[in-house]
Amino acid sequence: MTISDDLILAKDIIQVFLKGKKILRMYPQNNPIYMKTIEDSFNKFDDFFTYQDTLRYVFRQNEILYDTEQVYENPEKEDNLALFFFKDGLREITFRKGLTANEMEDFLRIISMDFEREVLEDDIVTLFWEKDFENIQYVVDETFLADEEDYESQAMSELEEKHKDPDNLLQAYEDAFKQEDAKEIAVVQIVETELQILFKELEDDAQDKIEKLNNILFEILISVERKNEYADVATSLIASVEYAIGKGNLDAVRKLLVRLKRLTDRQDIDGDLLFQAKRVIYFAGSEKVITALGEMLDSGQEIDEKLFDEYIDHLEKNAILPFIKVLGELKTIHARKIVIDALVTLGPKDILTLTKGLNDPRWYVTRNIIYILRNIGDKRAVDHLLKTVQHTDIRVKKEVIRTLGELGGSNVLVALRNCLDDKEIQVRIAALKAFSNISSDTVKKMLMDRIMKKEFKDKSFEEKKEYFTTLANWKDSEVLEFLVKVMKKRSFFGRSKLFENKAVAAHCLGLIGSKKVLPLLNKHKNSNSKLLREYAYTAIKRIDSAQ
């Protein structure tokens, strides 16, 4: 190999560095361009090592030397490979024969990192050091690590100054004879059981430390003497909460919240301390934290639901809006269910805020909020729910009708009655089902009036059946008489519609379960109408079995 060949390959490898820096930053590891770059780069090294055992570069500020020859030069500050290595103190790098493809790739990956970015907390030398390369060695100038120039000489001069007076070796020699004999401190050998204890210690040590930090910060919080220090410690606690949530350590935050709650519940608490403690509690329910929780829930990561519930128990009302926001963004049903349950727990702390979710543009969020309000069962939500009755999405309408039915109230009656005239049968049926929860005479009367109206017979069988099913909630004589009347009604026109009415009336009688109506039902058991026969038969069976 001639010297010029040598140089050519050393220069080529510098180009490998430059190309690698760009390519590895741009493409993921499985990209063909990335893989080709790695392969080509390794081949260059391989070529070099066919002839030489080591490849050593020397770095100067603006140039790189191979042997004594310049193989790279750049007087600019920007994109200067020499300066890139030089500024962190690297002065030489040597690649040894035996360099593996993995080592080379790791090396290229390190140099392709964007060191200008703040997030990188390590410099290039630290990253090399952490890799502990077997076949890449480097020489580093560490002078810049010292904060003072020639600190070493200063310290040495100080020592010399202290020892201006000569030592007194002769005295030491004489005194030595008067000394007791040297104590033999028994050095006890480490035994197997102790090693096992140590293994356990090391194993335990690998666990998350955030809970310990929280305990420490809490102790500091309650012990600081200057009021302005509360804010300082609370800020650290907030950072700790954020960190713990990021690591999925809900339990650590829960335990902290328990302690903070206990603190804020104290009567004698200092006002500033109370404010700062609450700041931390509020942060635990902030949008930042709740969004992170949502991501955690969606990721499929296993979550202890009991723990999650306990965490929610300790949050304040400020967590409601972030949870509503997250509810609309979650992708998995399981995660949504957990958040819905969380809002059921949190909602009572501020119903008004929760009802803001009814205005969410996403229909499913609105429906979920209605569901949550129904589960909470606070009548203060009714006025807000009534506004949702006119929602454009039928699924929302059905949910709100059901909820209104369960919550009840005078305004609800009017709204539900209006729903009975809705153009959508699903809405009308939902309204009828909702009426089942309202056992007022007004509703009963309204239903009977509607049934008696001429146009009732034109309703679908399904809707008719729902009317009578609802009516069955009133098991009184008035309803019984009404039903008997329907059953006995005769007409020459529209007989099939009439049979439908009788069938659903029979169904209703069956639901009421009165034995008195058995003769009437038995009579219709042999009706010409198949529908009526079947319904009468089923009703009789229901009453008989109930006896």
Partner: protein, 467 residues
């Protein structure tokens, strides 16, 4: 980073050395025909075959306190610690420096070596005895333990010294920067610690020697660096990996950062503290913890640093400070730092009654505290690391010469290397380093330590000898 193949070789090498130790240990008790011994030898031979299949030759060499396998220094896992220590001790006893196995080694060859090895320690010249017994064995070679040539260490000593002072200067800079609200470069901090970790992995005793000099003006900064060095050295004995050692080095370097808020007139007070001053001093763990949390975004390192800064004076039994309402077991690193901190503080001339203790006295006192203030198990490791006669101890030998302990011996802890500073009638002499494991013609140790003294009492400038 080692390739998969290299990692495999390293693992086989560790297993081989561990098994060699097991074989030699069991062979000292049972005959080579014993079933257990035979089975252990067979197991070892399987490691040998595997290694020879990959490496062609097996060279196990003792250099200083470490084994080198085919030129690479071995890092052993914690579970092999006892067997590695045993083997090192047995090799040194026999002055055996290298053990080389080449291809075609047979079971008979190995049995011959084991026999020679176990019979040799009672011989006057154990190495020669092994050599004689091994005559005619072509596939196993041995070599005598090489004594350490002082000149080889001069450059290394210079580098270690430079790293040490860089670290002190950096620590001083960090404290000043935090005080004045400037940004602190943690990148630099990592570099400082990595350099120390490297030196400890390669030249532990040299860096430990640097901690023996305690008379610098800027005690706080030197103390921080000394504690960091002692912690990393102890961490190494505990089997921590490089990353963990760096973490430990970092957290220990900053353990006393809270002292920056203690007024200098209190910190450097020549007399004992008043109750009021103690109150101020006792706040430094809490101040330090808070300061560290402000340095950077919360991550594992800052969490660990804050914990250690807070706990390093709490004591193993929580009798220290700060007092807290709900004490939980001290962090593993806090317990390590407590040991290093107490030892360095006690042997320094600034705190603890303002009178420095000799290292051996400090260790005696710490031994009394093991189980109460200090973690007893970690203390065992600590004392094994520091040695019975730590570096810097002024000693008188049975030959009536005075010397300074220059470098510990991990295996024979009471037989360190000593720099002679007087002859046997008390005349000053040019420092010559001797090894107390050296024996005379009658196979007796040539020199032994009989007395220890405080070098400070006689104005002996350790730096003159060590730096």
């Amino acid at each position: 980073m080692p390739s998969k193949e290299e990692l495999k070789i390293q693992k086989y090498a560790q297993d081989f050395v561990n098994q060699l130790s097991v074989v030699l240990r069991t062979s000292q008790i049972h005959d080579l025909n014993n079933v257990a011994v035979k089975s252990n030898i067979e197991k070892m031979m399987s490691h040998v075959s595997a290694l020879l299949g990959m490496e062609n030759i097996i060279t196990l060499e003792v250099r200083g306190e470490f084994f080198y396998f085919n030129e690479y220094r071995m890092r052993y896992p914690l579970e092999y610690l006892l067997n590695f220590d045993f083997l090192m001790r047995e090799f040194k006893k026999r002055e055996l420096g290298s053990f080389i196995i080449v291809k075609n080694v047979t079971l008979q060859d190995m049995q011959t070596f084991i026999r020679a090895f176990i019979e040799s320690p009672y011989a006057t010249n154990p190495y020669e005895r092994i050599e004689e017994k091994m005559k005619g064995i072509e596939n196993i070679k041995i070599d005598r333990l090489k004594s350490i040539v002082e000149e080889d260490f001069l450059d290394v000593r210079k580098m270690v010294k430079k790293s040490y002072f860089n670290a002190v200067s950096f620590t001083k800079g960090v404290i000043h920067k935090i005080k004045s609200g400037e940004k602190v470069s943690l990148k630099k901090a990592k570099r400082v610690v990595e350099s120390m970790v490297d030196h400890i992995l390669e030249q532990e005793q040299l860096l430990l020697g640097m901690t023996a000099i305690k008379e610098y003006d800027e005690y706080t900064y030197h103390h921080s660096v000394n504690v960091s060095i002692l912690c990393v050295a102890l961490g190494q004995r505990l089997g921590l990996n490089r990353k963990m050692l760096t973490e430990l080095g970092m957290v220990s370097l900053f353990h006393d950062i809270g002292k920056m808020e203690i007024p200098p007139e209190v910190l450097n007070k020549p007399a004992s503290f008043t109750e009021e001053e103690w109150k101020v001093v006792r706040k430094h763990p809490s101040i330090g913890s808070r300061a560290l949390l402000k340095l950077k975004k919360l991550d594992e390192l800052s969490i660990r640093s804050a914990i250690v800064a807070f706990e390093h004076h709490m004591h193993y039994d929580f009798t220290g400070y700060p007092k807290i309402t709900d004490p939980k077991k001290l962090d593993f690193y806090s317990r390590i730092v407590s040991l290093a901190d107490q030892y360095d503080a006690m042997t320094s001339a600034r705190v603890y009654s303002r009178v420095p203790m000799t290292p051996d006295k400090a260790l005696s006192l710490m031994m009394e505290r093991a189980g109460t203030q200090l973690d007893p198990l970690l203390f065992k490791f600590f004392i094994n690391m520091i040695g019975v006669f730590p570096v810097g101890t002024l000693v008188m030998l049975n030959t009536k010469e005075l010397g300074l302990v220059y470098e510990g011996n991990q295996i024979f802890v009471s037989r360190p290397r000593v720099m002679l500073i007087t002859d046997n009638v008390g005349n000053r002499i040019e420092g010559r380093v001797i090894d107390l494991t050296e024996k005379d013609d009658k196979d007796q140790y040539s020199k032994s330590i009989v007395k220890t003294l405080d070098p400070n009492k006689y104005n002996i400038n350790l730096a003159e000898y060590f730096l």
